[in-house]
Amino acid sequence: MMTELLTMPLFWATLTIAAFVLGQQLYNATGNSPFIPPILTGVALIVTTLELTGTDYSVYMQGGNLIHIMLGPVIVMLAVPLYQFLHTMRDQWQRIILAIVLGSATTVACAVALTWWWIGDEILAKTIATKSITTPVAVAITEQFGGIAAIASAAVIVTGILGAAMVPALLKVIRRDDPQTTGLTLGVCAHAIGTARALELGAEQAAYSAMAMTLTATLHALVLPWIV
């Protein structure tokens, strides 16, 4: 019976949702610790279960795909916050664009240069170039230029978790921690996970983070395939 269960797509889809719900509860229980976001717990639980039951990832994905398929519409959905903030942010347009372009270029260039210099693997360096884009977009782009989707996804998540924790602290040190700057920097450096953190800090932070995340993703999606 157990082996039958382990080959059922519905079982893996259900388990994925269960892992996410558990992740959310753990997150709430730890007072929303930025180092334990629900996605980290969710992935850890799924990977552990696959390891323990010796299940192949392709078998898991027959069920995982039922959930994965929702990623497309959710990316399209990002147009809604972007549209809503277009009006309120119009008079800061130039500064916002400059901060997003230079800020995200700096962190990506540093990551690629460090990977190249330290590990010296071209495919890994290419893959890590997508680290600042929200996962669905990063995965789609990586697949297009022959990077490793799973590593891209992991790099994005690690960046998001680190960024969500580091951004507010570091901005405080340089005294640039007003709500708009905090939100924008979270969106640029920590995408969706940063935006989730911004949502906890306040409405203004959340608005700027969602906008910056969308613009960073769009910018990188348009530019990276041409230069990588």
């Binding site: 990832y57 809604v80 990506v108 799973a150």
Partner: protein, 114 residues
Amino acid sequence: MPGLLLLLVFLLVGSLLQSQFVLPVPAAIVGMLLLLVFLIIRGKAPESLQQTTKSLSPLLPLFLIPVSSGIITQQEIVSDYGVELVVILALSLIPGILVTGWIMAGKKKQGDKP
């Protein structure tokens, strides 16, 4: 529900355009840009679309779990370079945060905001 339908239609159109013209940009991003243009022309986000956005947004991390769990297929790279990659990601964030913060807040008048 009409909101979700609208998202799917734009995703579908984006996919068609992407494969038809072999665009280097993912289909979902094409769909997103098309929806943005649609909203700008329409001048307002439909109520149903705002509802869908509100209910789908908190679920975003859930939709990322299946593909992220694919890390299990890359154990070789993780065990060879995992620590290095995490250190690289942490280090590269610092200049990024500083540059973004300085540009975004830099032009503000002194004492304007703490």
